[in-house]
């Protein structure tokens, strides 16, 4: 024990050096935007790679059990499909309409299917990592959507992965419009509830009511017009008092997102 203490006292300058370098490098990564972004992109590549391998291994390990469950569920679902299809057509006319409009909008675009391999949802500035990168044709500024609505915008791309600024990010501003009336506003997440975002700059004379659908507008450079974003659940006044602030129930649940599509061109 004494020899350890003697050693530590004699070599204390090493500890001081390592400590101070640690503090400096932490400052470099957290205090400089460029260095921070490079660092997190590189670590994302490593983390995404490891998570990808982990997913593959786990999928393989659970394959026999998953197969048995799927067979059981298949039998049950076969019986349910016919009943549900009829019920869906009769009861959920609006939802069917939304899906049809989304399909129409996306039909005009090239889409790159991707899997979400990493995500953050609890921060103010949330991001996703997808398993498609430059080699697959993904570039910065491209929009990312899923079956239920918009997801975010690609901000950084490496050879095989891309980082997506989620719509649950305080830096994200997406031009949207109220379906039917055409009034434009900016979708901007304020933090808090991950299923509710706000739409600002909606003019006070706009005809809007709770339940109206919000969709991407044709002013957006990133997303094709007409993609479903969510529904108005509350109408408030913006802090400047000159416009409406709409509270929008988002159609996409980021916590359960698995498969997405990158919109290649608009």
């Amino acid at each position: 024990m004494r020899s350890v203490i003697t050693f530590l006292v004699r070599e204390v300058h090493w500890l001081v050096f390592l400590l101070l370098e640690g503090v400096s490098l932490t400052l470099v990564v957290h205090g400089n935007h460029y260095q921070g972004s490079v660092f997190f992109t590189q670590t994302n590549v490593v983390v995404a790679g490891v998570q990808g391998i982990e997913r593959k291994l786990l999928r393989y390990a659970y394959l026999p059990e998953a197969n048995r469950e799927l067979t059981e569920r298949n039998v049950i679902m076969q019986k349910q499909i016919a009943d549900l299809r009829a019920a869906l057509t009769r009861l959920d006319h609006d939802s069917t309409e939304t899906e049809r409009m989304m399909a129409d909008s996306l039909r005009r675009c090239d889409l790159i299917p991707a899997k979400v391999v990493g995500r953050s949802i609890r921060n103010l500035d949330n991001t996703l990592t997808i398993d498609r990168g430059k080699d697959d044709g993904v570039a910065e500024g491209m929009g990312v959507v899923c079956g239920t609505g918009i997801v975010g915008i690609v901000t950084q791309v490496t050879q095989h992965h891309a980082e997506v600024m989620s719509i649950l990010n305080s830096q994200s501003n997406i031009t949207c419009r109220i379906r039917g009336s055409g009034y434009i506003g900016y979708l901007h997440w304020q933090g808090g509830n991950m299923l509710v975002s706000t739409m600002d700059d909606v003019p006070p004379h706009a005809r809007v009511r709770v339940g109206m659908a919000i969709e991407t507008s044709n002013y957006s450079q990133v997303f094709p017009a007409g993609l479903f974003v969510g529904r108005v659940i509350r109408i408030g006044t913006a802090p400047d008092g000159l416009s409406f602030r709409l509270f929008v129930q988002l159609s996409t649940d980021m916590a359960r997102l698995d498969d997405v599509m990158v919109v290649k061109n608009n």
Partner: protein, 166 residues
């Protein structure tokens, strides 16, 4: 008195760096960095912990003015940490406990080599952290090399003036 003189030297170098040299970019590439002189001038009897902490604090203040948190602090801390091994390597058996690095005590050639090495170590870390991704390796190398030449020339001039005054 010695501490006072050293403190004035450090503060003067720091002031010249943040108020004048930080605003000079020669040919868009060369950025003169004079603060490693603090490490060059430190005598061998100063404890390495004291030198490393001083270098870190000087770097941190330089970073605060340049808006580059951590970069100068890391580079200067590294240069300070390497000072003693470098002196041991260069001086060998001639190294005395109270060696004050200068052309008189070390010999002109060895002193110039020692100063250039301290500046080179500092610049290598500084420009690596500034570029970080090493995409434009050639551009970073040019920038580091031209800055090193500029900084070393300026440092040797400042060292000459300092010795004349002392």
């Amino acid at each position: 008195m010695d501490i006072l003189r050293k403190s004035i030297e450090i503060l003067t170098l720091l002031a010249v760096q943040v108020l004048v040299l930080n605003h000079i970019h020669l040919g868009l590439y060369a950025l003169p960095l004079l603060t490693p002189l603090i490490v060059v001038w430190t005598s061998y009897d100063i404890s390495p912990v004291k030198l490393t902490v001083t270098a870190f604090l000087v770097g941190l203040i330089q970073d605060m003015f340049a808006g580059t948190p951590g970069i100068s602090a890391s580079a200067l801390t590294f240069a300070a940490f390497m000072q003693r091994p470098l002196l041991r390597l260069l001086m060998g058996k001639n190294l005395t406990d109270n060696l004050e690095p200068s052309p008189d005590s070390m010999g002109a050639l060895k002193f110039v080599f020692y100063a250039v090495m301290i500046f080179a170590l500092h610049h290598a870390v500084f420009f690596f952290l500034e570029d970080f991704r090493m995409i434009d390796v050639w551009g970073t190398f040019l920038s580091a090399l031209s800055s090193l030449l500029f900084s070393c020339g300026l440092a040797l001039l400042v060292d000459y003036v300092r010795r004349k005054k002392l």
